[in-house]
């Protein structure tokens, strides 16, 4: 009988951790999401009234932010994918003895905090940075155009910040491809593009799925990039949640959080059904 218990014992620490730091907070969040302010009470005092219209109101007030979050996250994910795929391919097949050194460079941004890196982007894209004056000199942007406080800055900031999350799973997946299967494809009358479409890409799909999920999920809930690189017209659902939290308006915050979670879950499920492979999920 002992033999049968061992796996459960091994699961115990992880389960206890999740129970304490995930299940309980989620339940507490669920509870707060249908609460209302106590009439006559202090700011920040709520009572449970099972007011489910909290959700409807929170959604109707912030539809625009939800939409923007999803669009920005999708765009950032696509940009990260377009940058990462050739990078990961080169790392896997063309980097030779520099492979490990280059992999360290891919994760090197993690040595600095997420926040600092985003602030650095603000500096680079700001009026004082070198990018704006250079582009103006070259006549690529007009004197009045700025780069910060734009949707582009937010999307690019997210693409930059989450790039390693895209590159690493892609690399792992492409690195597993036997280069001889690519040679076999060429041998069997497929040119470079066809080989990519018929062999390389399908075989790297686990990496594509994992990388896009690891980029899309945090990007959809992100507020740092919109806060630092965006303007008033670029606020995402994460910014709303953060500002509501500070009021504090815990019921709206909780309801928004749940809806964001649900939206991500639905999108991810559909995505995996469409693009997923046996190896992922």
């Amino acid at each position: 009988m002992k033999k049968i218990r061992t796996p459960y014992l091994l699961l115990l620490p992880g389960f206890a951790f999740l129970l304490t730091f995930f299940i309980f907070p989620i339940l507490s969040l669920a509870q707060v999401s249908t609460a209302t302010p106590i009439s006559g009470g202090d700011i920040g005092e709520f009572e449970q009234t099972f007011r489910f219209s909290n959700y409807l109101e929170a959604f109707l007030d912030n539809r625009e932010h939800f939409g923007r979050s999803l669009i920005y996250a999708v765009l950032a994910t696509l940009i990260a994918l377009l940058i990462s795929y050739p990078l990961a391919y080169a790392l896997a097949f063309k980097s030779g003895k520099y492979k490990n050194a280059l992999l360290v460079l891919v994760v090197a941004p993690f040595f600095t905090s997420f926040l600092l890196r985003t602030v650095a982007w603000k500096q680079i894209l700001g009026e004082e940075g070198f990018v704006v004056p250079t582009l103006r000199t070259l006549g690529l942007i007009s004197e009045s155009t700025t780069l910060t406080s734009t949707a582009g800055a937010v999307v690019l900031g997210m693409a930059y910040n989450f790039l390693p999350f895209m590159t690493l799973p892609l690399y792992a997946s492409i690195d597993r491809i036997d280069p001889r299967t690519l040679e076999a494809s060429g041998d069997l009358y497929a040119n470079g593009f066809t080989t990519f479409r018929r062999v390389t890409l399908p075989l790297s799909m686990p990496g594509v799925v994992a990388g896009t999920l690891l980029t899309f999920i945090p990007a959809a809930g992100d507020y740092v990039n919109a806060e630092l690189l965006g303007g008033p017209n670029n606020t995402m659902i994460g910014n709303v949640i953060q500002s509501r939290f500070l009021i504090p308006d815990y019921p709206t915050t909780s309801a928004l959080s749940f809806m964001l979670m649900a939206a991500i879950l639905i999108i991810v499920t559909i995505y995996i059904r469409k693009a997923g492979t046996d190896e992922v999920v």
């Binding site: 040679e183 060429g186 069997l188 066809t194 075989l203």
Partner: protein
């Protein structure tokens, strides 16, 4: 895709092909013609340049110098996908994400061939695995994967089929079976097969013509029997089977025969099997050509006297002896166990005899050990 290269047919001709990687010359000024319809083997130890040669024919490498023709078409720099040449890769390189059916159909679909179903089913029948069409490669055994790799190549009816150590990953018994099957399939489909291997027995079983390669060059080319009975170099003599090479000198002629002196004992050998440059030679005799006899037994043909049995190994079909000769050389002798006579004992004083026709002569300045010290190779090298 339907350009001239893709429809080229005919003999494969390599002309003065050299392939260098920096200072290292993998293939050195190699010229070779492989007749259409033949089963040709490139045989040699690891690093001899045979795989590099094959990859240049496939288009996976470009020669540094030289040209490759298929029939009258120059294909030296033609892309792999534009050559009417298919390869059975070492470890097969099947597409893991496709079914067996789609693996085999891959080349047909790329060329826009109609009736893919019929062609694929026919070739699956040829390799006797029609029931596996819907499986994935990882669900197949090594032997089955090998046949699918073959089917995937021959379904395209290429002008040339290249096989890169195709049986290297199989166990001995399966390898023997596949050797016979491959030879049968080659006859059946009538394609030119070029087979690269380090296994001399495999090359001899299957190929019509073998080119023995060493250090980027062809040492000798010919039929298996020709190479075995009449090797021109010590490398070929030792790499294809085993040889006893005895130092000596040519001392005269006797009709069509040459007379050689081996440590004071005279022997005869056919003039046609002498590859000596001057009178200094190595006389070569295969171990199974020797006969051992006790001193008093009468013998005919060439005789070397004064031997002593040093070691006896009984291996069923034959008994292998090590015989120490007066000049301090151990000779290998394989005797068939077909005469009901009890084997000789260690310490027996014996004579060694053989028919003069089984003697060949190599240049006396050769390295008698060439080709013997070849280490069993790591298949993934080269």
């Amino acid at each position: 895709m339907s350009d001239s290269a893709n429809s080229a047919r005919g003999d494969l001709k390599l002309t003065r092909v050299t392939k260098s990687y920096g200072d290292f010359t993998a293939v050195d000024d190699l010229s070779l013609t492989i007749p259409e319809g033949s089963f040709f083997a490139l045989l040699g130890p690891s690093g001899c340049g045979k795989t590099t040669t094959l990859r240049m024919v496939a288009g996976l490498e470009e020669p540094t110098v030289g040209s490759i023709h298929l029939g009258s078409t120059d294909i030296t720099f033609t892309k792999p996908y534009q050559r009417p040449i298919n390869t059975v890769f070492q470890n097969y390189a099947l597409f893991p994400h496709l079914t067996i059916f789609e693996n085999i159909a891959f080349g047909l679909r790329r060329r826009g061939i109609k009736d893919v179903d019929e062609a694929v089913n026919k070739v699956l029948g040829l390799v006797e695995l029609p029931h596996l069409a819907q499986r994935k490669p990882t669900q197949l055994s090594g032997g089955q994967q090998q046949r699918i790799a073959l089917a995937r190549a021959i379904v395209n009816r290429p002008a040339l089929l290249l096989l890169d150590e195709p049986l290297g990953a199989l166990d001995l018994k399966l390898r023997r079976q596949m050797q016979i099957e491959l030879k049968w399939i080659q006859k059946e489909v009538g394609l030119t097969f070029v087979h690269v291997t380090h296994d001399q027995e495999e090359a001899m079983t299957m190929a019509d013509t073998i080119a023995v390669m060493n250090e980027g060059k062809i040492e000798q080319m010919g039929s298996p029997a020709d190479l075995y009975d009449n090797p021109k170099t010590a490398f070929v003599a030792n790499f294809l089977g085993q040889s006893n090479l005895i130092k000596g000198s040519l001392v005269g002629t006797d009709g069509d025969s040459l007379v050689a002196d081996l440590f004071g004992q005279k022997i005869a050998l056919p003039r046609s099997r002498s590859h000596a440059a001057d009178s200094s030679i190595f006389a070569g005799i295969r171990p199974e050509k020797f006969r051992i006899s006790l001193l008093q037994t009468p013998t005919s043909g060439n005789v070397l006297t004064g031997g002593k049995i040093e070691d006896v190994s009984y291996i069923g079909v034959s008994t292998q002896y090590q015989v120490m000769m007066p000049w301090g050389q151990e000779l290998m002798v394989f005797e068939q166990n077909d005469d009901g006579v009890a084997p000789f004992q260690i310490g027996d004083a014996v004579n060694i005899s053989w028919e003069p026709i089984f003697t060949f002569a190599l240049r006396g300045d050769e390295d008698a050990e060439a080709g013997t010290e070849v280490i069993p190779e790591d298949l993934d090298e080269e």
